[in-house]
Symmetry: C3
């Protein structure tokens, strides 16, 4: 498939600087692009690559035009324009329509128009899949699961009984939605399981990464609102509530009953304790530990700095003494004040 | 299914305050419960919800009776009573008996009475499944695996060859038991694999969360004793030994050959180094890093506090200087002592 | 299978001290070994076990011979010699040849000589599997995937469309290779997906642990060079590049576009931010947070020390004040200097 720069500009609402008849067939990095490739400039570190690129054209913001030696596609939101063009030029591999003969679909499941079920997948009784749902190979769709139209389970996804998935939701391999929350009752030193009778509600346009787990609620449901984006290997415990359009990066963990607001950004490996409230528009940086409510929007961090191992060992010893060090400072101040008098 | 409050009291060893003929059909939260629901009060934060509840009845401890406006079910261990009632009123969805026609069971596997194998599951030669074992859809039970009676693999569980699972064990989707431990030998800058010839032993009444991994031992077995409860996405490396009735929350990691005692509680995202000994009755709080033996029962913590990002950046710089700061305090004390003389 | 000590010595290039006709049938620990077992001494903690062992023979380094009461197999690199012997005496369980009747292999896939595909596995159109590739049960091999000769997917592995796997690669259950990277474009508070059009390249002799995820690249490929060893539950984000013979332990996370050098050792639960450069021969210790480039080989650490909970709480409060404490030290120094004058 080849598209002129002019056509691309029309499709993504951009303008062209230079020859708009250039034919574009694919996308490549500034350094590796050839005359039929569109490239993309967004990170200032790569300005030199921009100046030297041999791409057919470059997608960039107006302020970077001066450094572009080839035709340019100019957009206000370059990242969004890039997303649209990438979708156009690099469509996903075609999927065979219908239910694969090696899938196992219960006669008591309801499949909407155009539903695809891949080889090795299981769809249990009572499941209802909306129009155009794609269940890739190796998935398990449990009893009474609901999946809204246009959603896609890439492969090897497990949806436990009764969970509810919105429309246009994308779930990557190894994700598990609706496993039991971690509910235990202690009696004389022995743990008894507390049944997890809630479920999971996933809103529209949510994306869930590979090997991420979202547990079902203890009594009420675990809720992930529309437009939330979860990366890989995230743990979402029972009764967590994640507000719309919040994005969470890989390896983060959110303990039970915590509420995260809308439009938050939680970086990778952040760990958030249970029963907390985090307001809208909070940013938590990489590897932070959150053990208290966050009541004001803003950027929050924890963690200690990386050091050469020898220095770190000395620092560790000192941190253990820090309360004593603070008291010694106070004592010094008092003695000095007495001396001053 | 509807049960009178009186019947519930008899079944869980509780007493009733108020009308014991109330009919209960389900469980709901204090705020959402209607006249046919039982609700549950345990967290003091929700006292106001208790006072305003319209539940048919509330399960609570004797000391909270005064705030309850409706009939009450009074138990000493409310959490345990709740667990028993939830199991009664919200049983798991029924499972179809027998081996699903879309399962793949080796003729050389032995299945006890009442064993269930779901669609898409594989049971290899030499596996022995005790009476009443339920293998949900999409599981792999490897060669020569042993599973004790009454255990349940919910779905998409992988048990590698030769692992041994006790009775009444519950394993959630995506869990992998018995993958190779991480054993390497270095020769001239190149890693060689060290075969992992041990296996895994899981005791009775263990629960293992979604996407948790328990590696097989290098020579001897990795051991998880009876009653241990593991949440999601926990990594248990080769030759770890976890004592009975220890509970570990999500995203924790335990490196090779570490021994954790009985009745320990390890919070989420705690990371425990290899070759350590942790005695019985130790509590480790969320996100802690354990790099030394713990020889006394007690509560242990590490981690640095969450701060606004600007303050955190300044603190990071200071922590790098902490050894120097401590020396400056010492120098101040000496100079002041000299001045005093 | 029984082998004389003499034969073992020849096979692994070791020498024997004592009776070289001893017959060895298996491997066991020093404490549990019997007269037909070979045992292995490497960790000085277990010197007492060596002195008391009843093993048929012990594999050890020359400097430990004096403490060995039984015949000894003496090797310079005992760990490597152990690996070779373990492979010989404890071969993996045999795998049935060919494509299992309960596997689902596309007629448009190409299988080399001796390829094994286990029950419940799916191989999609365009996949090319080299000679001797073993695909265990429950795997998904996506469209157009390439797998080099001698590689093995143990079970329940998911390879997404188009990824490229080298020769003799070993991938453990639950691993997901080639899921979409986490690429998003923000427009008016709503996230749009950025298609991930790159793929993944895995070099020869790589090992990938259970439930580890390696995402496909945004434009170019994510690359894992030859001989890299990844433990369980590691997250490798899009466009990460890991140099040859680097080893990474469980639960580590590497954010997007970071380059890690050759022969690095990254310990468990280390978290590495995106867009960083880490040179060759770097060691990062357990639980460290890496947020800047590492430009010199060496050992690096971060993290705060484990303390009894009460002490930790006091320390947390002080760490929040550390910038102020440092300023108070400076003020004390100035006042003291003034006093001195």
């Amino acid at each position: 498939m080849a598209v002129t720069l002019k056509e691309l500009a029309v499709r993504v609402g951009a303008t062209v600087r230079g020859d708009d008849s250039v034919l574009i067939e694919g996308i490549a990095t500034l350094r590796n692009a050839g005359p039929r490739d569109l490239s993309f400039f967004a990170n200032r570190r790569y300005r030199r690559d921009l100046r030297e690129t041999r791409a057919g054209a470059v997608l960039l913001a107006p302020e970077d035009l001066d450094d572009c030696p080839v035709p340019a596609l100019v957009a206000a939101n370059t990242r969004l324009a890039y997303a649209l063009i990438a979708e156009l030029l690099h469509p996903l591999p075609a999927v065979e329509a219908g239910v694969h003969p090696d899938a196992s679909v219960s006669p008591e499941a309801e499949l909407g128009a155009g539903v695809v079920v891949g080889a090795g997948s299981v769809v249990e009784a009572g499941a209802r899949l909306g129009a155009g749902v794609q269940v890739g190979p190796g998935c398990v769709v449990g009893r009474d699961v609901r999946i809204g139209g246009g959603s896609r389970l890439v492969a090897s996804v497990t949806l436990c009984h009764g969970v509810s998935i919105g429309c246009r939701v994308l779930i990557h391999p190894g994700a598990v939605i609706g496993a039991d929350g971690f509910g235990l009752a202690l009696e004389e030193g022995v743990w008894h399981k507390v049944p997890q009778i809630g479920s999971v509600q996933i809103g529209d346009d949510v994306e869930i990464g590979a090997n991420t787990t979202v547990d079902r609620g203890a009594i009420e449901d675990t809720v992930i609102e529309e437009g939330v984006k979860l990366d890989n290997q995230i743990q979402v415990a029972h009764n967590v509530h994640i507000g719309a359009h919040t994005a969470i990066a890989g390896c983060a963990g959110i303990a039970g009953s915590t509420r995260i607001g809308r439009r938050c950004q939680i970086a990778g490996a952040a760990e958030i304790s249970g029963h907390l409230e985090i307001v809208d528009d909070v940013v938590v940086t990489v590897g932070s530990l959150v053990t208290n409510d966050i009541r004001e929007p803003g950027v929050y961090s924890s963690g200690s700095p990386l050091m050469p191992n020898g220095q770190w060992r000395r620092s560790m010893a000192r941190i253990k003494q820090i309360d004593e060090l603070a008291k010694r400072i106070k004592a010094l101040e008092q003695r000095l004040a007495e001396l001053g008098e």
